[in-house]
């Protein structure tokens, strides 16, 4: 589905594309320090290795589920690094490496998919990387509301002389929200576009078109390229080669800057591919052709970027070092996973409400007494009725 309109900074064989169309974006790459360019690669490789390890852990019964992101590393790493520290990121459920870039310990995702939590990380401690949302598309509205709040903060700030505070794109926050091609069909996503356009929110919608929603191909969701959906809502939109980490970084950076500068929302459609199963519960051989997988395998985001870096003179030592780091991260995740303890049963009742609630409190006490009754000789003797 890529076309002439698709922004690509790196060809599939890793050559930089310098022409009229890329000139708008290349400065974002040129001003990056080399260390950051190397980070792109490091994160992609570490994530892929982690992904494989987590899949193995699932097969070995250590996890209830794993959600692989293999093939989508460039879209995620580029956009993740494009976000400024003050920005807020609203993921779907596959953006593990974005969380990692923002400072989330991937063990929090492991814990969630082991069945120990529903997420529970604290966005203010994880680089404003918000919780995963499993109900498809819902987070698009949360992100839009958050962006409305950012805009309102400025409008409502009358602390000085009543004049709105000056905009400072260096310090102002924007919102980056991730969702998939399947999610684009949900009413919540269209409604988010409507609100974002109406209130000119400071936000970027990042649509990862990985071509599949479980077994349903993107063609069932949309007859037009998905980025054109945004255009119809009055949201300037762009399609990128999502397997090109430089395009993902540069285009997301440029769009976040526009959003922060008060120019309203933006939509990026990143064309990529889910190389693996939807989740470890899925069997993609039931619905897609090997040829298609091979086609995308030949457009692998990591191989492409490695070719680019090698062309820039990055040598074997670096790649060997990254490979070792990936092994270490995977080994560490395995070691920590097998040590994870089940939560206490009281966790069932914690944080259902922020303030005390009599029914929940009574049921927590009842379950504690019930469980304790198994330890006493006469069983259930002391139990009152279930509340």
């Amino acid at each position: 589905m890529s076309s002439d309109a698709t922004v690509q900074l790196l060809t599939p064989d890793g050559k930089l594309v310098s022409d009229d169309r890329t000139s708008e974006y290349l400065p974002w790459i040129e001003k990056l320090p080399e260390s950051r360019l190397l980070d792109f690669h490091r994160q992609m490789v570490v994530m892929r290795r982690f992904d494989t390890e987590a899949g193995n852990l699932q097969r070995q019964g250590q996890l209830a589920l794993w959600i692989p992101s293999i093939g989508q590393e460039a879209a995620q790493v580029g956009s993740g690094y494009a976000a400024a520290p003050q920005d807020h990121l609203f993921p779907a459920y596959r953006e593990h490496v974005v969380g990692r870039i923002r400072g989330l310990d991937l063990m929090r995702i492991i814990e969630m998919l082991r069945g120990l939590s529903h997420g529970g990380w604290v966005p203010s401690e994880t680089g404003n990387f918000h919780l995963y949302t499993l109900v498809i598309g819902s987070q698009a509205l949360h992100a839009t509301g958050y962006a409305m709040g950012i805009a309102l903060d400025r409008l409502l700030d009358v602390s000085n002389d009543g004049a709105p505070t000056l905009r400072d794109p260096e310090k102002d926050a924007a919102v980056l929200v991730y969702f998939g091609d399947g999610a684009s069909s949900q009413g919540d996503v269209s409604e988010a576009f409507t609100f974002a356009a109406s209130y000119q929110t400071p936000q970027v919608f990042f649509l990862q078109n990985n071509h599949w929603a479980i077994s349903v191909p993107v063609e069932r969701q949309s007859r037009t390229p998905l980025y054109l959906r945004g255009t119809g809502f009055g949201i300037p939109s762009v399609q990128i080669d999502g397997n090109d980490v430089l395009a993902s970084y540069a285009v997301t950076s440029a769009n976040l800057l526009s959003a922060r500068s008060g120019e309203g929302p933006r939509l990026i459609e990143a064309l990529t591919y889910r190389m693996g199963a939807h989740t470890t519960s899925d069997d993609p051989t039931k619905y897609r052709e090997n040829e298609e997988v091979a086609y995308w395998g030949a457009r692998d985001p990591i191989a492409r970027y490695e070719a680019y870096l090698r062309g820039q003179g990055v040598g074997d030592d670096f790649f060997a070092e990254v490979a070792q780091e990936a092994e270490d991260v995977a080994a560490d995740a395995r070691a920590r996973t097998v040590l994870l303890q089940d939560p206490p049963t009281t966790k069932i009742f914690e944080h259902v409400y922020s303030d005390p609630h009599p029914l929940v409190d009574a049921q927590r006490d009842w379950l504690a007494a019930y469980e304790a009754s198994f330890d006493t000789a006469d069983g259930i003797a002391d139990l009152e009725g279930a509340p």
Partner: protein, 325 residues
């Protein structure tokens, strides 16, 4: 002649029979056609009946239900699959504000023979939104019929009866039972669609439940029997309407009733049964009606589901309380 089939296969065969019998029957939902559904309940049906009758939809539950309503107006009998219990809510408005009320709004000139199949309930160790029991919302909504088969035999027949119904039917499939086999008799016509049924006779306590809970009730009855207590078990089968006659008759005999469900207890099907039995069989009761349910919290992380969901022990604890009253 009976066959030993898992519930998922039994429903599959029931769907196939309905598709074969009436060209107006359509299946629609996410991943149901090529994949055969994430639980494979519709496996093979696209191959047999074609992609125009077994339809993979875009990812939008409100649209699945909303367009099914339009299709019904055009004379079709859509059978919608909602992929998991927790994903029914994007379609909640279309179900409760539209589907449930449209026959009433049309003053009967149109019927809405739509079935909404919902794999529901816990015991499968899955992530958030994949193990819920939202049936009370729908049982609370006038205009919807709500049923839940507990056995493969009922799965086979009740799905056909649901499709034959001229009213909207919420069809809650206990997903933890999908792979459990049971005897299915495909020749003997079924009993009444929405009747509750005594499935084990006993004299001292009556247990009532639906869906996956029925297996736990039977297990509890076995344990109780081994301890010398005679327990009667009723499979509710229908949650709206509720067929009270067998329940009242049983309580008149046993004097004690325990109602069990996976769903949270507050404002639930179990509460409704407790209230109704208290009204209609007050003088037969030797003890208050006991409710056993999921706790009034969101469904917890999967590692805690064993503590959250009622099991035979929790049911027996309530039985003991009823007997000790």
């Amino acid at each position: 002649m009976t066959e030993n089939l898992p519930l998922a296969k039994a429903i599959n065969l029931g769907l196939a029979k309905a598709l074969a019998a009436d060209p107006k029957v359509l299946l629609m939902g996410e991943d149901i056609a090529t994949l055969g559904g994430v639980f494979r309940v519709t496996e093979g049906l696209k191959a047999e009946f074609g992609e125009n009758r077994v339809i993979d939809t875009p990812l939008a539950e409100s649209a699945i239900v909303g367009t099914a309503i339009g299709l019904a107006m055009r004379g079709y009998r859509p059978v919608c699959e909602i992929q998991f219990d927790g994903f029914i809510f994007p379609g909640f408005d279309q179900i409760t504000s539209q589907l449930a009320k449209l026959t009433y709004r049309h003053e009967g000139s149109q019927s809405f023979p739509i079935v909404i199949r919902v794999p529901y309930g816990g015991h499968i160790g899955a992530v958030e939104h994949h193990q819920e029991s939202p049936e009370a919302y729908f049982a609370h909504t006038p205009g919807l019929r709500v049923v839940s088969p507990a056995t493969p035999h009922d799965g086979y027949w009740m799905i056909q009866q649901a499709i034959a119904s001229n009213d909207p039917v919420m069809f809650f499939e206990p997903k933890s039972r999908y792979w459990q086999k049971g005897e299915v008799d495909r020749e003997t016509p079924p009993g009444a669609f929405q009747a509750s049924r005594v499935i084990r006779m006993g004299t001292e306590v009556t247990l009532v439940g639906h869906g996956a809970m029925v297996a736990a009730l039977l297990q509890a009855a076995d344990i109780a029997a081994s301890e010398g207590t005679s327990v009667e078990v009723i499979d509710l089968r229908s949650l709206s309407p509720i067929d009270y006659a067998p329940i009242i008759a049983s309580v008149q005999k046993t004097g004690r009733l325990v109602v069990a469900q996976e769903a949270p207890g507050h404002v639930s099907v179990g509460s409704e049964i407790a209230a109704t039995v208290a009204e209609r069989a007050f003088y037969s009761l030797e003890a208050p009606v006991m409710r056993v349910s999921g706790f009034d919290t969101p469904f917890p992380p999967a590692k805690l589901e064993g503590n959250y969901l009622p099991d035979a022990d929790r049911i027996l604890e309530a039985v003991d309380r009823a007997l000790a009253f």
